[in-house]
Every structure is written in structure tokens, then in C-alpha cells.
Amino acid sequence: MSSLRKGLLEFLVLKIVGANSVYVPDILRRLAVTEFATQEGTLYPLLSKLRREALVQYEWQESDVGPPRKYYRLTAAGQARLTALDEYWNRLNQTISDLGQAPCNASSLSA
């Protein structure tokens, strides 16, 4: 279960970053209310991996209350990856719900 969660976290982070330009506390807040609640110690290494894979990029923005912040957004490649993952996720959902139902011929026989 934990490796599945770890893999899914990447998908969810791409989704959050894809929705709009965010900095790390925004991402943590969005995830905090889900079962994927996570911490900086996990998120920074993940974002740095996504950046090395050229899926996200960040730019510095001045802040009124503290040091400048890194705002992350998707690159074109990141957007493409997110679209592919979305499609894969929908297919997977379909497969799982199909497998949970009795096959067509069996159900017609019992009817």
C-alpha cells in the first residue's frame, strides 16, 4: 500500500501544480486534507526529481512577509505527462470496476 501511495503522490503533485502556480506550503495545504498528507522532507526531494525530469519548473517570487518563495508550475512535458496519467487513471478505474462485476454471459444465465 505504501509504495502505491508513494507513486500516486507524484501524480497528485503534478495535478496540484498543473491547476495553478503554487509554492510548497500551498501544496502541503491541499494535500493535508486528503489521505496523502505529507511533509517538506518528502515534498522537496520529489519536486527536485520532477524538475530534473523537466516536468516542473519554478521561479522566485518576492514575498511580503519573508524570504522569496519558489513558485512551481508545469512545463509542456509536465502537462503532457499529466494528461497521460489522467487517461491512464481513468482506464485503470474502468478496468477495476469491470473486473468487480460478473462477466456478461454469467449474469445473463442467472437472470
Binding site: 510548497v24 522532507g41 526529481k49 524570504p67 519558489k70
Partner: protein, 192 residues
């Protein structure tokens, strides 16, 4: 009374009590260790330093200028120790067999200088007094040589986690542990 130590976290100055300073040093060193194969190690450590500093500041009273363990401990808990993403778990070879003796580590508890003798004794299963006597004899015959050797071992042999050994925690070993930890941290940032 605790000394106050000023440190730079992600290039901003912060003041910490010495116990908090020692705790932060070992936390950062552990984070650096987990990131040792990561090409963005320096950048991630800077991000984490900033996150810890933010968390501490949020927990301080308005008139408070020095970070203590009371703010640091929950701050470290909030930031969480480094977890690498799924495919990037650093390729540490799994231990093949159960170690026959405890790893060679410096043991701070009960140590006089830094814990080298205590660590060696623990590792080799010898009495610490015997190791110390041998070290003293060597010091007598080699003069400066033994001192250099001790300093080298102090830097090279990693520290056992606090709580590994038994006995009194003296000031000098704690201080030298703190110094060596920060030195290693600085070195890891330079060579990273």
C-alpha cells in the same frame, strides 16, 4: 545557563540555544546523508533549512529572539525527515549478514574527550579502560603522533546515535561532537 549560537539557515541569521543547535546539526547531517546521491542535495538542504526556520519562527513568542528545543523539536517533526521519491531511493546495498560486532562508532555517553576509545572498545568487545591505557601508552611513546591519530579518528569515525552508550554525558565530548558534526556538514555542502 546555555550558550547562544548564531547560525545561517539558507543565508539568513538565526540564534539558537546550544542544545537546539546540536539537535539541528545532527538532523541536518542525517538529511544530508539520506540525500548523499542526490544531484540537488545542496538545493534541497537549503529548502529544508528554510522550512525548519519558518516553522521555528511561527512557534516563537513576539519578544523571543532565540530558538530553543521547545520550538525546534515540533518544527523538525512538522518538516519531517527526508524521504526520497519512489524510484530514487538511494542504492544502499542491503546488509548481507547480521554484523558480528557493533559498528565502529564514537560513543558520546561516558566519553572523556570525544568517544573514540569508548567506541573502539564497544566495537571490539574490549574493556574501555584497557583501550584508554593503551592509548595513553601510545601517547607517551609517539607524542604528537597519537594526538594526530586521535584527531583523525574523531573526524573519521561516525557518531553513534545519542542514547547508544551508558554513563555520564560530559561537556567536552558533547562539544566536540557538535563541532565535528557542523564541520562535516559544511564540508558536505562544499564538496556537494
Amino acid at each position: 545557563m546555555q550558550r547562544i549560537i548564531t547560525v545561517s539557515l539558507n543565508r539568513n541569521a538565526y540564534q539558537l540555544e546550544e542544545m537546539a543547535h546540536a539537535r539541528l546539526g545532527s538532523w541536518l547531517l542525517e538529511a544530508a546523508g539520506r540525500l548523499r546521491d542526490n544531484p540537488d542535495r545542496v538545493e534541497i538542504l537549503a529548502d529544508l533549512e528554510q522550512a525548519v526556520a519558518d516553522q521555528c519562527l511561527r512557534r516563537m513568542r513576539n519578544d523571543q529572539t532565540v530558538i530553543t528545543l521547545e520550538e525546534l523539536e515540533p518544527a523538525l517533526g512538522e518538516v519531517g525527515q527526508v524521504e526520497l521519491p519512489a524510484e530514487e531511493t538511494s542504492a544502499t546495498p542491503a546488509p548481507t549478514a547480521a554484523p558480528t560486532s557493533p559498528p565502529l562508532q564514537q560513543v558520546t555517553e561516558g566519553a572523556f574527550i570525544s568517544g573514540v576509545c569508548r567506541g573502539l572498545a564497544h566495537h571490539a568487545g574490549l574493556d574501555v579502560t584497557l583501550v584508554r591505557v593503551v592509548a595513553l601508552i601510545l601517547l607517551f611513546f609517539t607524542g604528537g603522533g597519537m594526538i594526530l591519530l586521535y584527531l583523525a579518528l574523531m573526524l573519521l569515525i561516525p557518531y553513534a546515535p545519542m542514547g547508544t552508550g551508558t554513563g555520564k554525558v560530559r561537556k567536552l565530548p558533547l562539544k566536540s561532537r557538535e563541532m565535528v558534526t557542523w564541520l562535516k556538514l559544511k564540508l558536505s555542502a562544499v564538496t556537494g
